[in-house]
């Protein structure tokens, strides 16, 4: 996983609450392998109407190359589909700023090097309403300092400390777990005696 340090990029203002993962990537696009790229399907039904493309903040040329998205509360609620994070990442988004996130979405995001930056409702509104963001000027996201800077506006964000370390270092859970093999073996022994009803035999 690529370590996350800081970003300087325009931001996409998405002034919506409860942006669920069904909207982030509609179910019908989830049959493809990741290698084909999920970016074109990000928020597909908001960007494409029955009569062709619809004006929307993602495809605004002023914000070409934007790697930050700002939204309202409960971003990424709903389905556990990691494809929602793949769609954001493949589109080029590396950080979503919102007052709150669906738990599974946020965890999926971190595992893919995407920063879910939690700000207050007021700060989210300030960013969404700022001319700086609207004009597509670059804002700066600094993970170590936990700040977002858009011109004169400086906003602090929250991130779970464990996730922060993981993102800063680009760490992967698996290596960490494999180092715990002896502890897992000890647990298994204890557990078999404590919960004899929990196991299953192989086969049918």
């Amino acid at each position: 996983m690529k370590p996350f340090d800081s970003l300087e990029t325009p931001a996409i203002p998405l002034a919506l609450a409860n942006v669920d993962t069904d909207q982030l990537i509609p179910a019908r696009f989830m049959k493809r392998p990741r290698s084909e790229g999920y970016g074109p399907f990000l928020l597909h039904d908001m960007r494409e109407g029955p009569e062709g493309p619809v004006a929307n903040p993602l495809d605004d040329p002023r914000r070409a190359g934007a790697a930050v998205l700002v939204a309202r509360r409960n971003f990424g609620c709903g389905s556990s589909r990691e494809a929602a994070v793949y769609a954001l990442a493949d589109f080029g988004v590396r950080c979503v700023i919102a007052p709150s996130f669906g738990d599974i979405f946020a965890s999926n995001a971190v595992k893919n090097g995407l920063l879910p930056a939690r700000v207050s409702e007021e700060d989210a509104e300030a960013l969404l309403g700022s001319a700086w963001v609207e004009d597509g000027r670059a804002l700066r996201v600094d993970l170590a300092a936990q700040t977002v800077t858009a011109g004169n506006l400086v906003v602090a964000f929250a991130i779970d400390p464990v996730w922060k370390t993981q993102l800063l270092n680009g760490w992967d859970d698996i290596d960490l777990t494999l180092a715990e093999r002896p502890a897992i073996a000890r647990f298994r022994e204890r557990d078999a005696a404590a919960r004899p009803w929990a196991g299953l035999a192989p086969g049918d």
């Binding site: 409860n18 179910a27 049959k31 409960n74 389905s79 270092n169 960490l176 929990a198 196991g199 299953l200």
Partner: protein, 484 residues
Amino acid sequence: MAVKKAAAVARTPPENRTIIDKLWDAHAITTREDGTSLLWIDRHLLHEGSFHAFDQLAKRGAGVAHPELTFGIADHYAPTRGRDGSVANPEIARMLDQLSANTARHGLRLIGLRDPRQGIVHVAIPEQGLTLPGLTVVCGDSHTSTHGAFGAFAFGIGASEVAHVLMTQTLWQKRPHRMRIVVDGPLGPGITAKDVALTIIARIGADGAQGCAIEYAGSAVRALSMEGRMTLCNLSIESGGRLGLVAPDETTFAWLRGRPFAPQGAAFDAAAEDWRELASDPDAAFDREASFSGVEIAPTVTWGVSPEHAAPIDATVPDPARIADEGRAQAVRDALAYMDLRAGMRLDEIRIDRVFIGSCTNSRIEDLRAAAAVLAGRKAAAPGLVSPGSSAVKRQAEEEGLDRIFREAGLEWVESGCSMCVGMNGDIVPAGERCASTTNRNFKGRQGPGSRTHLMSPAMVAAAAVTGRLTDARALLAGREVVG
């Protein structure tokens, strides 16, 4: 990675633990100083969407650590018609084949499309006795919270976590906040677990339980059947909860006894002794509490595009002009525009084009009985689909003659699967149509691009089918008996 072990894990005193603490402590292999624990996973469930995780395994050349604890099941893409022949749609056939190939490669048990045990993962797996009190259960599906009905610690995970469980049978997790939702007093006649759940979500919000594990308690919860408890726990994710659970009791044990993968005979009795100990201690403290009065809960429907957009059937569509908070007012305006509704109109004036009875929320035998009680001897004014939650539920319903009631009303009786809940198998609500649905998500486009969804209980969907508009089912149930 440098990780500090917690020197002395700060634990709640042993006599003051919630069921959430007890389950957590029993599965924590090791805990880091930052409070993250490595949890042992007892049951891992897979479906067609798990291919991303298998692709990750293939990339690493890794195998499955505990194949005996993992079960695959075909549900999300399962065709609901013409199942005897080959699957007509090549893309869907590929999704099903991929699951078979991946499970076979790693020696995992699969409940495939034509297996008599097939069904929606959260309906069919408990039927097999694979979900037990005191277990951790995970699946790459957010409604895994359903299994909490048995007193299991059950939660949905993403594809990277699925890969991690396959490779290690463990997961790193942050300890959730503990939330207790108490529903006391009797529920009124015709009020179901679905009405309770929608009432809770409307009050606490779609993010009201974010970061929390919820214990549902109180006399109304205790009085629910296992089917009702599964519906309630299923919808925990729609209030943002990581999981929801109910302490196991005699209702749980009676339902589980004799199920194929449950302990049998004396082993079951011994297990039940342990399971009784899981209940929260009387003085256990929760981080958050919310309480509801059962008698005040009315038949509830959604009008908008989030499950929190729910209200009693005799209410009206909210008026954004009366909402002070601009962000919230705009969300309501946006929802009304998408749903094509007028502010202030009565909910029971809303006309529907289609109905759907199914999904892991409401497709169990009780749900079908409740819908059939409304539909018996009546005709549906709108077309619709009834998809039982599992092949076993389908057989049972047919034995009871429920399929005949649905067919005679003019509804289609099909095979089990996720079907119109998510439309992956091609069962969709056409663009612009309005569907009264027993499912769990009224998100924009959830049931198909441009679809409009109103969530409600099976009896309420059946009532909407009869009148062609959202309707208080109690009026149509008067004098009729609903078999529990």
